[in-house]
Every structure is written in C-alpha cells, then in structure tokens.
C-alpha cells in the first residue's frame, strides 16, 4: 500500500522543529518477518514534552514498531535516534538505561513479588549496590535501600496504589496492574515512556483515570509515546498523531486533522463508508 502520506498543517510541529539531533527520531524503520512486512519504512519524529500517539487498526504494526524501538526485535532496516544516540540494535536494558522505558500491552508484572518490590526493580538501573555491598551491608547498600523504598512509595502514590504496597502483584486486578507497570517504568527515571495500549481491557472510567495519569506523567517532564486502539481515548489527549495501516504510515497530524482524513477513516471503517462520513 503506498497511499501518499498526508501531513497536517498544524503549527505545533513546525514551531518546535529544530536543526539539532532532536529528541526521538524514527527514520525509515522496517521490520519484516520473512515475506510479511509488519513495519515498512516508517518515519516520524517525536518532540520532547509531547504526548505522541501511534494509532491504527489491529495488525497495523504498532506493537511491532514499539518492540523494534525498544530492542525486543532486531530491525530489518532504518534508524532510531534517541537523544542523539543510535539505539537500533542495542539490548533492551541499555535502551532503558538511556532513558527510554516501556510498558507492555499484555501486562507483565512480577507476580510473586510485592507491589512495592515491583517498583523498586525499576530503580535497579539507577542504583549501584552489588554483591559486595549486599554481603557486607555497606553504607551504599543501606542508603540505596532507604532511597529506593521512599521513591517507590512516592511512585505508588502517584499512580494511586499506595495502599497496596505490601500485597503480591498477582493479587491486583487488571487496572491496578496496568498502573503498577507505569509506576515501575517511571522508576527507571525515563525521559520518554512508551505505553503499549494502556487502556486495553478497561471500562470507561478506568480509561479516564489512565489518561489522567498519562497527562500527569507528561506534566512531570516525561515525553509519552502511546500506542492505542481506542480513538476516543487519544483524541482528547494527543499533541500529535501518526496513523499506521498494514505497516505503513498513512497519515500524521493533530487530532483535528486526523479525524477528517479520508484514508484514516477508510482504514478503520473500510472503503465506501469513508465517502459518506467525510460528506461527499
């Protein structure tokens, strides 16, 4: 599919464009599984401080793109630059170390550890105590333990889970597990956070709560990149949207622009219906 990309004419993107290396740049990234082009030459740029959404119907390649960006899959081609550094090909832990954290669509929390411990694991890459420190209970070990516990409780409070700190993560309901994932990712002190379908499986009020949390996260200085399926969720919150379909970028722009673009509506609703909704 090679429909021409329709770019919005909103001022936000132009106003913030810099000549420098930029914040997060995805250039012609491709991921092929044999003959299947799951992601095909996708390019876009994320500005710091944005809430940036990647949307598209099922199978559009959104999660695959995230997986390539965070080092879970090797890319077939292209380049991803984060804070001036090439991150394609790096192992996931190094990418997180550089400040790009993520959550998973199918929630992956540490079931047999407490809620607080889950968050504390996020601090691992920001602390240093090793085996020696552990065995000899050094000053560094003690200080880091106190700090990690305090910070952990702070983060739990931010996501509204402070009352569950000592419970096992496996005993939490889905909505709480999703928020725990966010708290844990925030513990890695990221500059950018990739959220993979954070509202999947939630009811309307849970979705609103999650989106309020996403806003909080951005306001606290973390750029947010969202993969979402639910149009309503992202329309109200996104600064910029990229639309994928069959692995290809078919549109990008502000929410208002995207809503009216024919190709986008086609992708979601199928041809024929598109003509009717755009109004002739």
């Amino acid at each position: 599919m090679s429909a021409p990309t329709v770019k919005g004419t909103g001022t936000s993107q132009d106003g913030l464009r810099r000549a420098s290396d930029g914040f997060l740049k995805i250039r012609s990234v491709s991921k092929h599984f044999g003959a299947l082009k799951a992601v095909d030459e996708v390019s876009f740029e994320v500005q710091e401080g944005q809430i940036f959404s990647v949307i598209g119907p099922n199978g559009a390649g959104k999660t695959t793109l995230f997986n390539v960006m965070t080092g879970i899959y090797p890319a077939t081609g292209g380049q991803v630059t984060f804070l001036g550094q090439d991150i394609l090909g790096l192992p996931p832990h190094q990418i997180t170390d550089l400040g790009l954290a993520r959550t998973y669509q199918i929630v992956r929390v540490f079931d047999n550890m407490s809620v607080l411990e889950n968050v504390q694991v996020g601090f691992h890459c920001r602390t240093k105590a090793g085996v020696w420190d552990a065995i000899f209970s050094t000053q560094r070990a003690k200080e880091e333990k106190i700090r990690s516990r305090e910070r952990g409780l702070e983060l739990l409070e931010r996501v509204g889970l402070q009352g569950h700190a000592q419970e096992l993560a496996r005993s939490l309901p889905l909505g709480s597990r999703k928020r725990l994932q966010v708290a844990r990712a925030l513990a890695t002190e990221p500059r950018a956070l990739l959220l993979d379908e954070p509202t999947a499986g939630m009811n309307r009020s849970e979705k609103q709560e999650m989106m309020a949390l996403v806003n909080d996260v951005r306001d606290a200085g973390v750029t947010v990149l969202l993969v979402e399926h639910d149009m309503n969720v992202i329309m109200g919150i996104s600064d910029w949207i990229v639309v994928l379909d069959y692995g290809v970028k078919i549109a990008e722009g502000t929410p208002e622009e995207i809503q009216n673009i024919e190709t986008v509506i086609e992708a979601y609703l199928g041809r024929g219906l598109a003509h009717e909704s755009v109004g002739g």
């Binding site: 879970i72 540490f110 085996v131 552990a134 419970e167 513990a187």
Partner: protein, 359 residues
C-alpha cells in the same frame, strides 16, 4: 466461644482454649520484637553448640555433619534455582570439583599435602568459575535443553573422575588429609560439627543479605519475567551468570569438607541422584527462601536416616522422587515460601514445577 464451651463441658475446656490463644498471641508478639528475636537466636545458638555434648552417639553427630553439608549446598543451589529461577540438574558436579581438588592436593595419592586454608577458598572459587564458564553457552538455551546440558556436564565430570588416572579412576582416593586450621586439626565428627556449624551460620547470613538486596531483587525479577526485567534496565545475561558463579561456590567448599571428613572419595558419591537430592531439598524447603531451604535440607537428611539399613532402604531413593512430584502438584512454592501481607506466594515460573493456581 470459650463461654459456650465452659457451659456445656465445664470450665476446664474454656480455660484451656484461652490459655492456648493467650500463649499464641504472646509468642507472636515476642518473636517479632527485636528483643525477642535476639533471645530466640541466642537460645538456638546455645542449643546448637551444646549438641555434641548432649548426643552420645557419634553416628548421629555424623548425620548432623552430613545435614550441615547439604544445608550449605542447598543454599547454594537456591541461588541458581530459587532466586534466579534457572534450571540446574547437575549441581553435584561442583561438589565433586571441590572434593576432588582437596583429595588430589592433600593425600598420598600424588604425595602432595597442601594446606587447608589455601585450598578451601580456592575450591569455592574454582567451582564458581567452572559454573560461570559452563553458563556462558548453557544459558543461551531454554528450559529442557538447559536442564539437559547441566545434567550432561555433571555426568561428564563424574565419568572423567571415574576414568582419569590423576583421580585414581573408579577406585577413588584414600587416606585424604583432615583439614587443619593452624594448630587445630579437624578430625573427629564432633570437631567437624563445629566447623560445619560455623560455616552454615555464615552462609545463612550471607544468603539472607543477598536475598534482601538489590541483587537478590534483580534475580527474582528475572525469575518472574525475564523479558520485563530486561526492559526495566536489568542486564539479565550478566545477572544470570553471576547467580551461577555465586551459587556454585558453596558446593566447592562443601566438597572439600566432605573429602576431609570421609578421608575417602570415589565417583559414586557424585551421581545424578546427588544432584536430585539437593534439588529436592531446595524445592521442598521453599524455593527462594533461605530459611525454608535450610529446613528442607535438614529434614531430608535426617528424616530418612531411620530407614537406612532396613528393608525400606532403597525406598529412600524412591522417596525423593515421589516427594518432588507431590510437592510439584500440591505445593510448588515449598513448605516454607516467602510470604507477603497474607497472600500466599506461588511457585513462579520453572521447568521442574508446574505453577498450579492454589489461591
């Protein structure tokens, strides 16, 4: 409730219930207070130190020595299997390495008699390094294949010892030196008891500290969900290699003590059964909980002893297999797992035990 009881059956039963509940809650309060903990620990330490004087039978002291060595090894395997959640069916190979190192370097076999204080730490280090080197390729495999590789490695070590001339092949090595700590020679079972007791105490302390440390938490995260752990910034590869290195060290140390204590070793002491025995101690006791593992090792060494020499002797071996299967089905988290705020902990992801939904 006690009111009703005393009315129907007389005041006696009611007061008994009250007494029991009262004592239980006093104990609960006592054992969790810092003062209470210290007193309990002190009492236990005193009792343990008195044991060689209290028990007349040398046979049972030797059983306790054996239990101590198993405790050391089970705690080591617990790092690999319990904390990090890796699979290892060949832990006895690290035990064998330590044992043969001492036997070869401190016996008439090659007429070398190196000092204990030199070889003891070296044996631990050697076992750790061998485990690390083995893990470099082995950890790239998953599940059953990793298990097979560890098993195959252990068998190769045993077969090597069984055929090599420097280990005196199947005949084994005799007249192995006893350790000497400066002026103190450690020769009798009672003397060994104190050495093993001190080493166990040190190891338990070390393991408890590791368990509750940043590294311990990282290992457990890998056990729970390796991909998520990697995404959270943990270098899972180097953490897993570290677990293998540290986990094997106690086996090397225990091997040296075993060699010295028996004064005779041969490859039959390091069969696959040995690895399974240690693994079952970890699984039965409570994977990931140092104290649970200590209990598992102790019980599984001491309890089958009365069966030895009776017609049920071979049943001892059957016992371990049955126990592993029963635990896997009904209580994969072990008898004494780590617990949090009331909610029980499940067995977690392993390739030996199924995760059954118990709650």
């Amino acid at each position: 409730m006690s009111q009703v009881d005393s009315e129907s059956t007389g005041g006696d039963k009611g007061t008994k219930t009250e007494l029991v509940t009262g004592m239980a809650s006093w104990w609960g309060g006592f054992s969790s207070s810092p003062r209470g903990r210290l007193i309990s620990l002190f009492t236990v330490a005193v009792v343990l130190l008195m044991i060689p004087r209290l028990i007349a039978s040398s046979y049972w002291i030797r059983v306790l020595d054996q239990a101590g060595l198993y405790i050391m090894m089970a705690l080591g395997l617990n790092v690999i299997v319990g904390y990090a959640g890796l699979m290892n069916l060949g832990y006895a190979s690290f035990f064998a390495i330590g044992a043969y190192l001492w036997a070869v370097l401190a016996s008439p076999q090659h007429d070398i008699h190196l000092p204990f204080l030199l070889i003891f730490p070296l044996a631990g280090l050697l076992s750790g390094v061998v485990a690390y080197i083995l893990a470099i390729p082995a950890l790239k495999l998953k599940g059953d294949y990793l298990a097979l590789v560890t098993l195959g490695f252990a068998e190769s070590i045993r077969i090597l010892a069984n055929n090599a001339s420097f280990t005196n092949a199947a005949a084994g090595i005799i007249n192995i030196d006893h350790p000497s700590l400066g002026v103190f020679a450690v020769a009798s079972v009672r003397e060994y008891y104190y050495v093993v007791l001190v080493l166990c105490a040190i190891e338990i302390l070390v393991m408890r500290r590791l368990e509750n440390s940043r590294i311990g938490m990282a290992w457990m995260a890998i056990r729970e969900d390796e991909l998520a752990a990697e995404s959270m910034g943990l270098n899972t590869r180097s953490l897993k290699l570290l677990a293998c290195f540290i986990g094997a060290i106690p086996a090397g140390l225990a091997g040296v003590l075993f060699s010295g204590m028996q004064t005779f070793i041969s490859p039959v002491s390091f069969k696959f059964l040995e690895s399974i025995t240690i693994l079952s101690m970890v699984v039965v006791g409570g994977r990931g909980n140092a104290w649970g593992v200590v209990m598992g090792a102790f019980l599984l060494t001491v309890l089958p002893e009365p069966l030895r020499g009776t017609s049920l002797d071979t049943a001892r071996i059957l016992l371990y297999g049955v126990l592993l299967v029963v635990m896997a089905i009904f209580r994969p988290e072990g008898i004494w797992p780590r617990r949090y705020g009331g909610a029980k902990r499940e067995g977690g992801q392993t390739d030996v035990c199924d995760t059954t939904e118990l709650s």
